[in-house]
């Protein structure tokens, strides 16, 4: 499996941090942009992106491809995405195993599907069409979900594995999403990580969530919690050198706090490398 080279430790690029990033050049290896926020004719977002792109690798992460929707693929959207990709030259383009609406409506959310043979065939076919259109391999992410369905014929990680192999796509493993969904649906998050094809994973997402006791919600407005750090370590041991990043989308802390989370990743990875070196010696 040919994968893009690992980029190191990255951060979701958000407007609140533009100025600090440009003025202080913090130790961040790469940035992930939300594609839709830059699918514009012009203005400050594109100008800032251009300045940051001049010095950092960038990957494009979308939230509106609606790969699982039964509406037709939105080729106006895909054309805009392709145009942005030509401009940004990202290391890769990603989106989610989810749908965002049907009948022309968009709910601006990553909505769940039953993991059925029908859903699988549908998503695989759409990923293939998108890859053909974009002329690049797509990176597809597991989403957080709050409900699951009696119609499901397989587990989520079985769905992810078969989808990736049949569509020949790459994977973005959102470690926080694995944890949130495992809590909400009562599956083993370690088994999930062990079940996805590690050779196709090119990126990790790490983020915080909200604990409502009976369910957890993927809010990206908190620091990464201890359980997700533990799961990260497991994912790192299994998937090896994969680009990893922090997503923060609300309740923004000083940039230094996010840099501390990146440092925590580096420390975990250094410990794993040291252990491996020792056991190999």
């Amino acid at each position: 499996m040919e994968k893009p080279a690992p980029l190191g430790y990255g951060l979701g690029l958000r407007p609140i941090y533009y100025e600090e990033i440009l003025s202080s050049r913090p130790p961040i290896d790469w940035f992930e942009i939300i594609s839709e926020n830059y699918m514009l004719a012009g203005g400050r977002p594109l100008a800032m992106l251009e300045r940051i792109r001049a010095d950092y690798p960038v990957v494009m992460h979308g939230v509106s491809m609606s790969l699982a929707s039964t509406d037709p693929l939105n080729f106006d959207y895909l054309r805009q995405l392709k145009t942005l990709a030509e401009r940004v030259q990202p290391a890769w383009v990603s989106d989610h195993i989810a749908w965002t609406g049907v009948h022309g409506v968009t709910l601006h959310d990553l909505l769940p599907i039953p993991y059925t043979r029908e859903s699988l065939a549908h998503v695989v076919e759409r990923i293939q069409r998108v890859q053909d259109f974009l002329k690049r391999r797509l990176v597809v992410e597991n989403a957080s979900t709050y409900v699951s369905f009696v119609d499901s014929e397989m587990s989520e990680h079985e769905f992810v594995r078969e989808m990736a192999e049949r569509a020949d796509c790459l994977l973005l493993l959102d470690v926080n999403n694995v944890f949130v969904s495992s809590f909400n649906h009562g599956f083993d998050p370690v088994a999930f990580i062990d079940g996805v094809p590690a050779e196709r994973v090119v990126q990790f997402h790490m983020a915080g969530h909200t604990n409502n006791e009976t369910h957890r919600v993927d809010t990206h407005d908190q620091p990464v919690c201890d359980e997700v750090w533990a799961l990260y370590e497991h994912a790192r041991r299994r998937c090896g050198d994969v680009s990893a990043m922090i997503e923060r989308d609300d309740n923004y802390p000083p940039l230094a706090e996010l840099l501390d989370e990146l440092q925590n990743m580096r420390d975990i990875d250094a410990r794993i490398s040291k252990e491996r070196a020792l056991s190999a010696a």
Partner: protein, 280 residues
């Protein structure tokens, strides 16, 4: 259940909330291992949808919230979300229909001040991400012979919007976004009075300023591609203003200074286009 039928049911639950129509969907949900009620879990999607859209509207309409007050503003946003589900993958475009919704909706159409504020704030949002152009300075005029001045026509930044607003809109907006912004700004008692504004983008930020009636007419005509000399001769401008050529020169100077002008050209007699290549 087919995937398409499932998605229709699920979306209906998100858009309309809980009700009798949910029953087939509820039958399809596995029980939560943590004892969360199915309604609670579906509400995560429903409330998330409404909160996200309400946030978009709030971010784009601080002035509207300030003059309506929180309660009326939230009612307006609720009405808008109910009547106009989002249809563009890019959430940025959701709020753009709000002024049209207000104009067409019986509950809001008579609130002239609110409709005016919504229109103004939409222009501010639209200016923010229109295509990039490079503004010219007044030095651009130096390359033209004095004999050509009457035939000079101008191209304007694509972000420029000219607005006819209810009187007091601009002052209320300024109060709403000021650093010591009060929670509530007095709604302008506009009556039939109007004011004029230009909204455009400069240095990556949306900008605005109030226009005198004669400048509004002149700028409208200049943007339509009419030449400097022709605008001076226009009856509308003569009626709206005072001494045409001097006043127009003053206006032109401020348009350059504001970064509104991106092209200057000599308009030929048969030139009907306002988009011919610029010179200077």
């Amino acid at each position: 259940m087919k995937l398409a039928d499932f998605q229709s049911l699920f979306q209906q639950r998100v858009l309309a909330g809980s009700g009798e129509a949910d029953k087939p969907l509820l039958k399809k949900l596995r029980p939560s291992p943590r004892g969360a009620a199915p309604e609670t879990l579906l509400d995560v999607y429903q409330t998330g949808y409404r909160i996200r859209l309400a946030d978009f509207v709030s971010q784009d309409h601080p002035g509207l919230r300030a003059i309506l007050g929180d309660e009326a503003f939230d009612a307006l946003v609720d009405d808008y979300i109910d009547h106009c589900p989002s249809r563009d993958p890019n959430a940025r475009w959701f709020t753009t229909g709000l002024p049209d919704f207000m104009r067409e909706n019986a509950r809001w159409r008579d609130d002239v001040a609110a409709a005016s504020m919504a229109l103004f704030e939409r222009a501010m949002v639209d200016a923010f991400d229109t295509a990039d152009e490079t503004p010219l300075t007044v030095q651009a005029l130096a390359g033209f012979a004095p004999d050509d001045w009457a035939r000079l026509a101008f191209d304007f930044d694509p972000s420029l919007t000219l607005l006819e607003l209810a009187a007091g809109t601009i002052e209320a907006y300024g109060a709403a976004i000021s650093e010591e912004a009060p929670a509530k700004v007095d709604k302008p008692a506009a009556g039939d009075h109007i004011e004029y504004a230009a909204v455009w983008r400069v240095d990556h930020e949306s900008a605005y300023r109030q226009l005198e009636p004669d400048e509004y007419v002149a700028l409208s005509e200049a943007r339509a591609g009419h030449a400097f000399g022709d605008i001076c001769q226009m009856t509308a401008f003569q009626q709206a203003g005072e001494i045409a050529p001097e006043r127009l020169a003053q206006c032109l100077s401020s348009w350059f200074e504001d970064g509104m002008i991106i092209g200057v050209r000599v308009r030929e007699d048969d030139d009907q286009s306002s988009n011919t290549p610029s010179s200077a």
